[in-house]
Subunit: 322 residues, 2 copies
C-alpha cells in the first residue's frame, strides 16, 4: 500500500449514514452525512452516497487516493455483499450494496455488519492492536459481537456468525422475551434496555428505597441507573452487579469456545467503567472452566466516543484490499 492511500469508511445506520476518509493510522479526514430514512429508493441512496464519497475524497487528494470502501451496516453480509432483511433500514428484502457502489465508482468495496466492523477497527486502531484472538462485545440498545480468531474475523459459513447477544442465558419459560422471538437471550439482560428491564423488575418486586423511584417507571433510562449508582444508590449498584454477573457467565462460556486473549467491551454501557467491568471480571473468574482462569484480559474499547463505526468499516477495507 502506498502511504498516500485512504479507505472510505461508511457507517450505515437506521438514522444516519456517515462517510469518512481514513488513513492507515486511524485519522479521519472529512465527514459527510446522509439521513438514511430520506432515501426510500435504494438507487437514490447509492447515488447520494457516491456524491458523499467523491466530496470526502477531494479532501485527501481525489478519488485516485482511495484504495477501498468499507461499509458497516446492520445485517450486512460479507459474503454476498448484500444487506439482507434489515428491520431498521428503509429498503426491504436484499439490497446489493457492494455491487452498486462498485459499479459506479470502480473501487473495491467490502461490507460487514456493524459489530464485526467494530472488532476489525479495534484490531487495527484500538486496544486489540496486534491481537489474533479476541471477542468484541457491543453493549448498546442491543448486545452485538465481533469475533476474531487466528487473526481473522469469524463470519461463519453464511456470513452471519457472531450473534452472541442471542445465546440463551436463562432457559425455559422464565427467560425474558427477546425481540428475536425467543426467551432468555443475553441481550434481554445485558443491553442498555435489558438493564432498564432489570431496574423495573427490582423496583416492582421490592420496596427498597432508591433514587430511581423518583422517576415514573416507564421513563427510566439506562443513564438514570448510572447516575443513581454513582451517587451510591444500592438498588442501582445491584443492577450493575446483576448485569456484570450475567456478562461474566456468558464470557466464561465464550472462553470454552475460542479461549480469547481478551474480551473488549464497546458502547454506552461501558461508560460506567469499573462499575460494570469489575462485576464482569469477578463473575468470569468465578465461573470459568479452570484452565482459562486468570488468563483473559477485560478491556474497554479505545474507540468509544470516536467515530468507531467509520474507523471499523475503514479498517476492514484496509485489511481486505491494501
Amino acid at each position: 500500500m502506498k502511504d498516500n492511500k485512504y479507505v472510505i469508511g461508511v457507517d450505515l445506520g437506521g438514522t444516519n449514514t456517515v462517510f469518512g476518509a481514513v488513513d492507515k493510522n486511524g485519522n479521519i479526514y472529512g465527514e459527510c452525512k446522509l439521513k438514511t430514512r430520506e432515501y426510500p429508493s435504494f438507487d437514490q441512496f447509492v447515488a447520494a452516497g457516491c456524491d458523499c464519497i467523491m466530496s470526502v475524497s477531494e479532501i485527501v487528494g481525489g478519488i485516485g487516493n482511495i484504495c477501498a470502501i468499507g461499509i458497516g451496516a446492520p445485517n450486512g453480509n460479507c459474503y454476498s455483499g448484500c444487506i439482507e432483511l434489515a428491520p431498521n433500514l428503509p429498503w426491504k428484502g436484499i439490497v446489493p450494496i457492494v455491487e452498486s457502489f462498485n459499479k459506479l465508482l470502480h473501487i473495491p468495496v467490502v461490507l460487514t455488519n456493524d459489530a464485526n466492523a467494530a472488532a476489525v477497527g479495534e484490531m487495527m486502531f484500538g486496544v486489540a492492536k496486534g491481537m489474533r484472538d479476541f471477542i468484541e462485545i457491543t453493549l448498546g440498545t442491543g448486545v452485538g459481537s465481533g469475533i476474531v480468531i487466528n487473526g481473522e474475523l469469524v463470519s461463519g459459513h453464511d456470513g452471519f456468525a457472531g450473534e452472541l447477544g442471542h445465546v440463551i442465558m436463562v432457559r425455559g419459560n422464565e427467560g425474558r422475551l427477546c425481540g428475536c422471538g425467543r426467551k432468555g437471550c443475553l441481550e434481554t439482560y445485558c443491553s442498555a434496555s435489558g438493564m432498564v428491564r432489570t431496574a423495573k423488575e427490582l423496583l416492582i418486586n421490592s420496596d427498597k428505597d432508591s433514587l430511581l423511584r423518583k422517576k415514573a417507571l416507564d421513563t427510566i433510562e439506562s443513564k438514570d441507573i448510572y447516575d443513581a449508582a454513582v451517587q451510591g444508590d444500592e438498588l442501582a449498584m445491584q443492577i450493575f452487579e446483576f448485569t456484570g454477573d450475567m456478562l461474566g457467565r456468558a464470557c466464561a462460556d465464550f472462553a470454552a469456545f475460542s479461549s480469547p486473549e481478551a474480551f473488549v467491551f464497546f458502547g454506552g454501557v461501558t461508560n460506567a467503567g469499573d462499575m460494570i467491568m469489575d462485576p464482569i471480571k469477578q463473575s468470569y473468574e468465578k465461573n470459568v472452566f479452570p484452565v482459562y482462569k486468570d488468563k483473559a484480559k477485560f478491556l474497554v474499547s479505545e474507540l468509544n466516543g470516536k467515530n468507531a463505526a467509520v474507523l471499523g468499516s475503514a479498517a476492514l477495507g484496509f485489511k481486505m484490499f491494501s
Copy 2:
C-alpha cells in the same frame, strides 16, 4: 508433497498409545501399540515410541518416507508442544513431547488434543471434507469438541480453545456437579455417563415401568439404555429425547458463535443413530436464532469405528507439514 510420503499418526491415550503410518488418502499401514501406563518414566515412553515409529515406518519404505508425526493427546497443547497436567496420563506436570520426539527422530512433530485431532481428521478424511466451518462434538465418556473456522482449527490464544463440553447448560445450584468442579456443564448431561445419570434420575424419580429396572441401579451403562430404547422402552427413549434436546440447545448457542456449515458428531453415543440425531436436529431448529434456521447439517462422523484418532493426528501432520 511427494506421493510416497506418509505421516505417523499417534493416538496417545490413558490406556494405550497407538502408532500408525497414514497416507494422504487416509489408508493406515501397520500399527504399533504401547501400554501407556507401563511407562511411568516419560523418557522411556519416548524411547519406546521411537521404536514403534521406526517399525511402522519400515512397512512404508523406511523413515525417509515419513514427512511428519502428528500426535493427539489429552491436554495436548499445539502451541507449547507439551502435554500439560493431563489427569489420566502417568506423567505429572508438563511434558515436552514434541521436542522429545523431534530430537530423537529429526522429523517435524505436531501435537493437539484428541478432539481437535478428530476434527482435522474429519476435514481431511471424513464427512467434513472440503468444509471450512464446522464443529465436531465427541460424545464419549466426556463431551469434547474440535472447532474449525475459516478452514483452520481453533486453538485460542493459549492452545486450549474448544472445550464445549464445559459450557453451562443448567445455571445455579440445580446443575449437575461436573468433574471440572463446576455445576451444569453440557458434559454432565450429554456424555455417555451423563446419559446414565439421566437414567438413574428418571428411575428414582418415577415409578414408570422400564427394562432398565431389571439391572441394579449402579450397574446401568449407556449401552443398556440403547438396548432398551431399541426394544421400544419408553423411559429409555425419553433419555435419548432429553439428551438430544440438550445437545440441540447447546448447538443453537454454538451457531450464534461461529454459524458452522455442519455439526459433526463422533463417538459411542452416535451409534444410536437417528434415536439421538433426530432429537438433536429437532431441538436445534426449535431453539436456534431465526437467521440460522434450516441451514446447518447434522452429521455422524464417517470415522467412527475406524482408527479415527490415528487418522486425525496424521491429518494434522499433513495439514501442517506437507
